[in-house]
């Protein structure tokens, strides 16, 4: 489905001809060496050029229309200025719809009162923060004034540690398996990726129905002669369930990213190792893992950020129960800021700023480690 290339208004077909002999990396069109020919014309590999040309024609025309004013802009600002132009729409939207609310949130966290909108609230400085931190013993949530907050912090911490490590492990194994010479690879890829397509609400619902006292799991156990158990009223099992369900829903996504990274490792390295008779374990540790490292870093960063923010599927599955054993930070913020009758939006804003701060620190640390590893690995 590559877009048909268009006429380039370039003079000197020779230069393009020279370009066409450039070796392109193999993932561009699978080994074809060119998409442009010396005449600046159509892609010779297209089978139905007329159809795609027709489809693209109106967009083609629009692009030509846009080109004229943009050329003028480019003359005015230079190539570097064009970078700003390209970046602008994205940053504008981020700015208005993400960063601005974040700033408002920050200001919000220093106000008190019950009004929703900033103008009607009173400024109280860091009082919300000090209330969050008022604790006799930080390791015992019940000794704190905001016990729900510290319970949520503790739960989130354990969740992140366990879920991210299990997630990376299972995603890696799945990717390694999918990388093998399997028949019907697309089918197996689809199998593992399928849960990612479901909305979190659906995920939570399905698993709730399986794990509840009258659910499918108990039914299965009953058939095998074992006693059914109320999984979702047992605190440890429910916590395990949240990790399991979260793994189920997202593992495919990360597995696919790792799979792509695996497929980018040149096959000749493996062939050489096989000819040398290297054991598979050594191949993994010495070839696969180091070359996969940058890709793995991306996966770890993403997985960590997402798992700290876990909310939707868990909320539907357990509602934070039993008691508060699966109450995570985002749910705490949501309920304190919005949903509960005991709401306190200023407190919720303070908690969310703290959560954001922790995330930023974590991510910077990881990126730092990654950069160091990159430098070390450079030959």
């Amino acid at each position: 489905m590559p877009l048909a290339p268009f006429d380039l208004p370039l003079k000197g077909g020779d230069r393009l001809g020279a370009l066409s002999r450039l070796h392109m990396p193999s993932h561009f069109g699978g080994g074809e060496t060119t998409k442009f020919d010396g005449n600046g014309g159509e892609d010779t590999t297209m089978t139905t050029p007329s159809l795609s040309a027709i489809l693209m024609a109106p967009i083609n025309a629009i692009m030509r229309i846009i080109d004229a004013p943009l050329r003028r802009l480019q003359k005015a600002t230079g190539i570097g200025g064009m970078a700003a132009f390209f970046l602008a729409p994205n940053m504008l939207i981020f700015g208005i719809f993400v960063l601005l609310p974040l700033v408002i949130n920050f200001v919000y966290s220093m106000t008190g009162g019950t009004a929703f909108f900033l103008s009607e609230r009173d400024f109280i400085g860091g009082a919300q923060y000090s209330r969050l931190f008022e604790c006799q013993n930080y390791l015992d949530p019940m000794s704190c004034q905001e016990d729900a907050f510290w319970t949520a912090v503790g739960n989130t911490f354990w969740f992140v540690v366990l879920q991210v490590s299990l997630m990376i492990l299972t995603a890696l194994i799945t990717a390694l398996i999918l990388n093998r010479e399997l028949a019907a690879r697309s089918f197996w890829r689809a199998v593992f990726f399928f849960p990612v397509l479901l909305s979190p609400v659906v995920v939570g619902l399905i698993w709730k129905w399986i794990l509840q006292r009258q659910g499918l799991l108990n039914f299965g156990l009953y058939q095998f002669g074992m006693d059914p158990y109320t999984w979702l009223t047992d605190r440890s099992w429910t916590f395990a369930a949240t990790i399991g369900v979260s793994l189920w829903a997202h593992m495919g996504f990360y597995a696919l990213i790792i799979l792509a990274g695996l497929q980018a490792i040149p096959k000749d390295l493996y062939e050489a190792a096989e000819m040398d008779g290297t054991k598979p374990a050594r191949v993994f540790w010495r070839i696969t893992l180091p070359l996969l490292a940058p890709n793995l870093l991306v996966v770890v960063v993403l997985a960590l950020i997402k798992s700290v923010q876990v909310f939707d599927e868990i909320y539907v599955l357990t509602g934070g129960g039993p008691g508060t054993s699966t109450l995570f930070l985002t749910q705490y913020i949501y309920e304190t800021g919005f949903a509960s009758a005991l709401r306190n939006p200023g407190l919720a804003a303070a908690a969310s700023i703290l959560m954001g701060g922790v995330l930023v620190v974590l991510t910077l640390i990881q990126l730092g480690i990654g950069k160091r590893g990159e430098n070390k690995g450079k030959r």
């Binding site: 080109d67 390209f86 974040l102 697309s186 909305s199 659910g215 980018a264 991510t363």
Partner: protein, 350 residues
């Protein structure tokens, strides 16, 4: 059959089972059951009546008690396997139940009434698909309109996402400028702000901009995705710089370079982002819920939620409509999925 067997049992070492083969097999089959199983169960559950949904032990397939029309009675009667005083079991139809005793008749010979204790009878079950779970919501609410809104939002948001994100990725990959790292950090930072946290300030902003109750209010805040920018940027980094320099020397404008060189070459990554964007926008729930309060603007997911009342949730409708809303996403996925690995392949590097 031999071919199929060879197909399934292809192994690493040719002959003999390596432990990795066994492990692979177990993982794949286990994955199939665990990943697909619940979805299959979802589909079957969506065909159950509300009473069947609430029962325990649950059945995988949708069952209801069989009914039969019996001479002399207007309504069809339920059929049970009843234990007779002599120990045999007969299929009887229940006329009525009074307290602990059921009055039953033989459906074929309805003259005689048997009195059977309710503990001595078990329902005769047949499979029955409650397809009204699928048809009734179409009657209750404006399904086609919601479908149109969802499609509109998804398609427009995806197109804008592809354009805006690729522009930003282009800037961040092919240009050197001072604020580059800062811009990347800012984009990374936006990943860390979940919607539920900024809901109230975001609501004020939407209200001030007049985007409240508008599909554009649903679309615009969601089109700048950090994940999208990263995926595209990684891919664009692998485009040789010489190509771009040569085009510049040929007096191509930056816009042309973007549109005619970089974008076509990024096509696989764009396909990947398109899949993700379609999945995300189609399944978006909280944000459209906040922005839209006029029902003619609802998207499908928001429309579905009307079945969650305060005191009762009508699961049978929710399940059925969940299956329906799942279908387009699955179709898009099947169509575009071959691009996922080719697409993400480029992003793994560096």
């Amino acid at each position: 059959m031999g071919k199929v067997a060879r197909f399934i049992l292809r192994r690493k070492g040719g002959k003999g089972w390596h432990w990795t083969d066994v492990f692979t097999w177990v993982w794949l089959v286990g994955g199939l059951i665990i990943m697909f199983g619940p979805a299959v169960w979802l589909v079957f559950s969506s065909l159950k009546t509300p009473a069947a949904l609430a029962e325990f032990p649950p059945s995988i397939l949708p069952y209801v008690t069989s009914q039969a029309t019996v001479e002399g009675y207007d309504k069809p009667l339920m059929l049970y396997d009843a234990k007779m005083p002599d120990g045999s079991t007969r299929v009887l139809a229940e006329v009525r139940r009074i307290g602990l005793v059921a009055q039953m008749v033989d459906p074929k010979a309805p003259g005689e009434i048997f009195k059977v204790n309710i503990n001595d009878r078990a329902p005769v079950r047949t499979m029955s698909f409650a397809t009204e779970n699928y048809t009734e919501p179409f009657v209750h609410f404006d399904f086609l309109r919601y479908l149109w809104n969802s499609v509109f939002v998804t398609v427009v948001a995806t197109v804008i996402t592809l354009v805006v994100n690729s522009m930003a990725a282009f800037a961040l990959s092919k240009y050197e400028f001072k604020g580059r790292s800062l811009a990347m950090l800012v984009i990374l930072a936006t990943l860390m702000v979940p919607l539920s946290v900024i809901m109230v300030p975001l609501y004020s902003i939407i209200s001030t901009l007049g985007l409240f109750n508008s599909l554009w209010g649903v679309i615009l805040p969601t089109v700048a995705t950090p994940t999208g920018v990263f995926i595209l940027r990684q891919y664009m980094l692998t485009i040789p710089d010489e190509l771009i320099d040569a085009a510049r020397m040929d007096k191509a404008s930056e816009w042309q370079i973007y549109w005619r060189i970089v974008l076509p070459l990024t096509a696989p990554a764009l396909a990947v982002l398109a899949i993700f964007s379609v999945v995300w926008r189609w399944n978006d729930f909280l944000w459209p819920l906040i922005v839209l309060s006029r029902r003619e603007l609802y998207t499908l997911q928001v429309g579905l939620s009307i079945y969650s009342g305060e005191l009762n949730v009508q699961w049978h409708f929710i399940l059925a409509m969940t299956v329906v809303t799942m279908i387009p996403v699955v179709l898009v996925f099947i169509f575009l999925q071959r691009f996922i690995t080719t697409g993400i392949a480029g992003t793994g590097l560096k």
